[in-house]
Symmetry: C2
Amino acid sequence: MSQRVYNFGAGPAMLPTEVLEEVQQEMLDYQGHGASIIEISHRAPPFLEILEETEELFRRLSGLGSSHALFFMHGGAQMQFSAVPLNLIARKERQTAVYLITGKWGVLAEKEARKFGSTEIAVDGKSFDYRKIPAWQGTLNPETSYVHLTSNNTLYGTQWQKYPETGEIPLVSDSTSDILSRKVDYSRFGLVYAGLQKNLGPSGLALVLIRKDLLGLALPQTPKLLDYQLADEQRSLANTTSVFSIYVTLKMLRWMEKQGGVAVMEQRNQEKSQLLYEVLDGSEFYHAVANPGDRSICNVTFHLPDDKKENNFLEQSLKEGLYALKGHRDVGGIRASIYNSMPLEGVQALADFMRDFEGREG
Amino acid sequence: MSQRVYNFGAGPAMLPTEVLEEVQQEMLDYQGHGASIIEISHRAPPFLEILEETEELFRRLSGLGSSHALFFMHGGAQMQFSAVPLNLIARKERQTAVYLITGKWGVLAEKEARKFGSTEIAVDGKSFDYRKIPAWQGTLNPETSYVHLTSNNTLYGTQWQKYPETGEIPLVSDSTSDILSRKVDYSRFGLVYAGLQKNLGPSGLALVLIRKDLLGLALPQTPKLLDYQLADEQRSLANTTSVFSIYVTLKMLRWMEKQGGVAVMEQRNQEKSQLLYEVLDGSEFYHAVANPGDRSICNVTFHLPDDKKENNFLEQSLKEGLYALKGHRDVGGIRASIYNSMPLEGVQALADFMRDFEGREG
């Protein structure tokens, strides 16, 4: 077996080696049942126990209280781009939602919502190429069904530092790329959703947290498996869920708890991102994408002076075991995704490489 | 490690040990990339190669030609209960589909379709408790958008032996529980869909085969990720797919090819089911659920004289390493799901156990 690389991919993202080793060990026989967990019914006790512990552990790690339901749905964040308006746009007769757009995923979420109701764009970072998160100073029509934002913008490496106040109007967050990466009071949100494949586990599902009084508002044309009320009633099992995704997510949550929980994750993510921002700030060679006040602790993005140097950077970093650093095609440049599973050593290795590379080619 | 059981679960179902061993071996390092396949981007070459080979291999095994598109969608068969009407009900202005109902999944599919258009029930096995597949003698209104059936009914162990002729009207099949278990000319269907977790792989996705001229008919309110045209254009990657599900499915398809392909699968499934039907037919103790003319080669269902004997049967069979034989809660009794991965030896062990048990308790 070759050595494992430091994987800076934006998602599906790296997982702790310990987690993968456990998965490996159990692959043919889950806890003496004589079958792999992926061969066991989603309604059989071995999996029901996994599902229950996953919920409990997420609540413990996040501090989410009983005000909110928690369940998994098929399809990642983009399925939620449809599910959110289908379930919440009818909360007010005006059937209008406000979108705060700070990047590509916000653009797509707003576009999808227009299929099911009306939208208003109250913040649009487009004129800044999404390098900063514009301040929001407007007022909200009280007949707004919900306000939607993207908490962390993977492409540009920006992150909301302070969430807006929306009063009685439910705030909805696509938290795919920063869930459990820092301490957040999720109870203040009407709805939080997150595809699993960045901070939580393998791809395939989204985690949904919703304030219980917002259940039961779905439009009549909501596809059954996108109905939040049914998902809550059936506790993620309105049909056969992705057993493997939840199984690995549980191991990931256990790993986080063992490391010390979300406070420790946040501290490490601060430290990791700081290592890279220090290199960027001390350099005339690298150009950071994100506005300093909006910097993400999950994705660090930058450019080199030209394409040729960027390609050299990617080629040479790969040889050093630093994997998947290429920026998103919409932004170009370099992106280092440093989610919870990325160890400090990996980021240190990247920071060292950046300094060396600048010394050679800068 | 304990010995692996013979797993008769209806799905998520057993997988060949060879397949799981390969998954196990590669879990920390997929082919020298230094990362698990579940950590690698769905848009990176290692996964794109998997996706491409999966499609090619499915086409080769099934004989499906270029008339049909093939892609994966999130959510298993029940998500397709919504996707089918969303994508096809508008094929005719009348927006009406015909459902041939031969079991619980057909009931749920028809109910879901009513959200998006009108339905007509042309066959309904309910009066037979779904123990038989009623003959269909009606005629079809030419303005019917599509005709929907369930090819194999897992709960009762019935299976369509000869598909109905629907002329110009697209025939749609939920083939979740018998896809690639026998030779079927899928090209004659307008649309075939199948959750992966019975004959193909782990849970989480559905495979969709659709005649290309049926693409592009989706209702405007179709959620983005349920739009067949987009799924085809984006080749299953309109968003992050369940990488692991497709990865294991490819290994499963390779395994099928190595075994000799679908013809061999069908022959084995015939042989396996015959072993069990012989026991049932030779016994006054066991009572088969399915009408002999409609018997499934994928699920064999039967009752014992009373609940106590059924419970004894389940307890004792489990001790013999025969796992998950309990019938679906709607039907009760015993169900042996004997999909492609179930070896002949497992079925032989069950047949032997049945004879012994009858000898002891009959």
